[in-house]
Subunit: 568 residues, 2 copies
Amino acid sequence: MATVQLFRLLWFVALKPCVSTLSLEHPLDPLSPKEINRIRSQKKMPSSNGYHQAGGPSLPWWSFEVVQRHMRSLWIYWSWLPPPLTFEELFQASLLTQQYPQFIDSILKRGLNISEVSCLPLPVGWFGEVVMRRQVKITCFYRNGTINIYVRPINGITVALDLELMNVAYYAGRFSSPMPKVEGTEYHDTPVKSGPTFPNTTSSKLSIQGNVIEWGIWKFHLGFNPRAGVIISTASICDEKEKRYRRVLYRGHVSETLVPCMDPTTDWYFRTLWIRVNLVLEKPQIAFSPSLIVQPTPSLSMPGLLPRAICLFERYSGDVAWRHTEIGVPGKVIRRGEPEVSLVARMIATVGNYDYILDWDFKQSGSSTVKPSSIRTQLGLTGVLEMKATPYTSMNQAKEDIYGTFVAENTVAVNHDHYVTYYLDLDVDGEANSFMKSTLETRRATIFPHPPSPRRSYWTAKNKVLEREADARIRLGSEPAELSVVNINKKTNVGNPVGYRLVTVQPAYSLLSGDDPPQIRVAYTKYQVCVTAYNKSERWAGGFYADRSHGDDGLAVWTRSYWMKALQ
Amino acid sequence: MATVQLFRLLWFVALKPCVSTLSLEHPLDPLSPKEINRIRSQKKMPSSNGYHQAGGPSLPWWSFEVVQRHMRSLWIYWSWLPPPLTFEELFQASLLTQQYPQFIDSILKRGLNISEVSCLPLPVGWFGEVVMRRQVKITCFYRNGTINIYVRPINGITVALDLELMNVAYYAGRFSSPMPKVEGTEYHDTPVKSGPTFPNTTSSKLSIQGNVIEWGIWKFHLGFNPRAGVIISTASICDEKEKRYRRVLYRGHVSETLVPCMDPTTDWYFRTLWIRVNLVLEKPQIAFSPSLIVQPTPSLSMPGLLPRAICLFERYSGDVAWRHTEIGVPGKVIRRGEPEVSLVARMIATVGNYDYILDWDFKQSGSSTVKPSSIRTQLGLTGVLEMKATPYTSMNQAKEDIYGTFVAENTVAVNHDHYVTYYLDLDVDGEANSFMKSTLETRRATIFPHPPSPRRSYWTAKNKVLEREADARIRLGSEPAELSVVNINKKTNVGNPVGYRLVTVQPAYSLLSGDDPPQIRVAYTKYQVCVTAYNKSERWAGGFYADRSHGDDGLAVWTRSYWMKALQ
C-alpha cells in the first residue's frame, strides 16, 4: 500500500518526497500470543512442578526467553544454564517465605503483624560457586498499614530459596534493629496528578502502519522484546533531494541493566540486580498524557497483550530547535526560528522500588542543511530509595562505614550504581560503517614564519578510524575527543564521510576491583563506550545469562583482541 | 503588602505556608532610564567625539559599565583602562570601513557590489602590547541579495580601526579566494514557525510583584545587568513545616562568555570573542510562545526600555517529576506520580552569527520529602556557523591544516570553543557555606572476618570540606567525585549538613598552552569549577576588563593560594 500525504514543513508545501510501501505485517514484529502458544505446545514446556525433577546444571532447561524470531522463521535455543526467573516463580518464592514457620516466628518476636509484611525475591548472582542451582534470596519489608513498602526494611533475616525444589534452602534469623522511621522517606497515598494536556498535533504528521512509524523525516519500526523492552529497528531519514530513505540505525535497544550495591555485608553483598523488563513492564501513561498509545506487547511468560505498554507522543520541550536574528542587513531586523519538537517512544519499567523511564527521542530536522537529525536515548530514574535498617538513629553515632547515607532515623539509603547499557547497531547509509575517534590535539603556533602568529597554540582535530576492538573501548573524558560512526565509502560533496556523532554525557564507570565477582561478570563497565564488529550473537553486554555469568561471555570478552570488519 | 494565596499542591489545599511582604521597589532592581540619565548628567559623560581628545592608557575613561548600585546607593568607578565597546562605536567603525577608498577598491577588484557588503567589528584582545589603544578589527561578508550574511566571508582584507581617532589604523588587501559557495550552509528567508501553544496555567501559581517572582515553593528576584544579562537574586524555597523561606542562592548570573578560535593566521588569531550582552540582547519570544513576559530592561549605552527582553514561562518537558508503581501491597496495584513542570526565565543574546539561549530553570518540588528542589542553568547555542573562505573546493585538495571543517565549496567552518562561565553565590540556609567534595573511593572488602564477605570491593564516599581555594579548582571527570555546597552549621535531624549538589555535565576545558595570550587572559578555563571565598569585587571570571586583560585579574588569580573563609 502506497502512502502519500502532505509533508509538514511549512516553507515548501509539497508531496512527501519519500514514498513508503508498507504492510501491516513486518518481519521484525514481536511474536503474537498465538505464535507463542503454538511454540509452547510444540516444544512441551515443563510444567511448574517440572522443576522438582532434578537439580544441577545438567538439566536442559527450556526457556521462553531464548525464543527468537529471525525474518519470519523461528529459532529455538536449548540451554544448559538456568533460565531467567519467571514472574510465577518469584510470586511462589515470596509466598513460601511468608508461610515458613521460622520466618513467622521471627516476625512475631519483633512484635510485627505478619499480614503487614511484603517480601521481594532477588537474584543471587555468582560468587565462585561450581554448581549453581536456581536460587533467590528474599528481602522483606513492613508495610504497617501504608502503601510505602520499601521504607521499612526488616533486617537480620536471611532467607535463600531453591527454585528447583521450591523450598527454603537456608534460613537465619539473627539480630533485630529498631524499625526505620518513616520521617523523610515516606511517600503519601495521594491522587495521581493529571499532566498538562499537550496539544495533539500528531495527526498531521504521524503515520502508524502496523509497527512502522513515520513522523516528519523519520521512519522506523517499533518493536518489543521481553528482555530488551522497546526495540527501534531500521530507523531512516528521508533525503528530500534524493527522494529516498537513508538508513541510520539498523537496531537499537537496552542491552543490559544492572544495579550493584556497595555494601559487602551478609544480606547485601549479592545485590547486583539484573533487570528483566518482562517482569516489570509498567504502563507509562501514568503522570503524563501521551497523545497516542500503540503496540500491545506479548509477555513471554504469560502470553497475552499488555495494552498501552509503549506510548508515542510529541515532546514540546520549550527549547528552540534553531533560531537566528540578523541586524547586519541594512534597514532590516530579520528573526527566524522554530521550536524544538521531537517524537518520543516511551516505556516505563518498575523494578521493586525503582521506576525506569526509557525514552527514544527522535529530533525532527526542520531543514537538513541547518540542523542535523538526531536520535537521543534518555533515561529517567525515579521511584523510592533502596534502604536498610541500622541500629543508629543519626550519623553521629555511626563510627564504622554505614555503606550509604542516613535518610531517616535507623534508615540508611545504600550506595549503589545504575548501569544501563544500550546496544546500537548503526547502518549509516549502508552496512559498511566505521568508528571514528577525533582527538583534539594542542599544536604550537610558533612555526608560522611569515607573518609570525601572535598566538602560541591552537587545537586541531585528528580523525582516526579505529581498527581494533581493543582500541575502541573508551573511558569518556580521559582525553578530549569526539566519537562518530561514519561510512567512509559515502562522502559529502566536499569530501567528508557521512556519519553520526555520538554525543555523550559523562556516565559513571565501575569502581569495583577486577577480582570482585560482580566485576568479573560485567568487566565492560570499566568503559562507557565499546565498539565491536558485527556479530549476531553479541547483543547482551553482560552475556546471555548475565546474572549467573562467570565472565566468559559479554562485551568485555568480545572486545579483547579482534580486528574490526567493515573497514575500507 | 501581605500576599496570601492558595497553595497549589493538590494533596493539602491550605493557605500558602510562607507569607511574603513585598513592595514594587526592591534594592536589587536594575537602574531605570531616569536614574541612568541623572548619573550621566551629573558625571559629564564624554560625548562620542570626546574619544578624539587623546590616546593612550593615561586617560581616565568614564564607563557606564562600572555604574553599579548597591542597596539603593550608587557607586561610580573611574577606570584607567579602555571601557568596553559601545554599540555606537561599532556602528561607526563598520560605516567607516565601507567608506574607506582602498577597501572599496578591493571589493570592486573582486567584482563585488559594495552595497551588498556587511561588516562586523571584532574586539582585538591583548597580545603583549605595552600601549593599548581602543581598537577593533573588521571582518566583512558579501550578502549577494540574501539575508544570510555569514555564509560568504570576504577574505584577504585586514582592517584595523582606531576608535579613539575614529580612523583606519591599518589596512592590507592581500589575496582573494573564490567566494564560498552557499550549498549546505545557507539558511532561507522563511516565515517564522509559530510554536506550540502551551497551556497557560501560570495564573494559578505565579505571582509577580515588581521584580520579585513567586512560583510554587520558589521565590526570587529577577534582575538585569547589561554585562551579565539576567541576574537571579535571593532565590529561596518555602519550608512548609517551618512556615518560612529558606535562602538557596544569593546571586547568580553569567560571569563571562568567550569564544576562542583555533586558527593562528593573520585574520583569525585574535578572534577570542568576549560577549557583552548589552550589545546583543535579543527578544526571546521568537520561535516559542511564552506564557508571560516581564522585566523591561534598561540599556546602559542608550538608556531606555527594551520590552519583552526576558520571558518567564512554565516548561512542560514531557518528563516525569516523580512516579512509582507498587504491586507489593496484596490485592492492589498502586500508581502515583506527577509530570515535570518547571519555571523558566529566558534571555536570548544574538552575537553576530551566534544566538545564545540562556535559561534559568526552577524545578518545583512536588513534595520536599520525595524529590528535592533544584535550579538548573541551561545554555542553548544556535544561529549560523563561523566560516572563512578557502581556495580549496573540497577536503581532498587541502594538504595543510585548514583549522576547521569543510562545510561547502571554498568554505571552512573554523574550529573554536564556547566558554560560558556562571557566577553562583550560594547562601544555603545562611551565609556560612562550604564547598564539599565527596570522593568515591574503592575499598577492599576482604577485611570482614565474620562472616567473610564473598565481595572483594565496594566504593564509599569520602566527604571533605575544602579549605583552600587552590584545592577547589576542579577538572571534572579527573576522579569520581560529587560536589556540593553545604552549610555545616545546619544539620538535618539525622546529622547530615544541609546542602545543594552541583550536578554537572562534562563541559570542555581549554587545550591552549599556558603561554598563549588568550590563555594568559583566561587561565581559569583549565578548570570547569572554581570556588572562591566571597569577595565583592570577584564577579567577572576573566577580570573586570576581560578582553584587554593581561591576566592579572580574574578567577585564575583569585584562586591561587587563599584560604577560604566561611569554615566551621
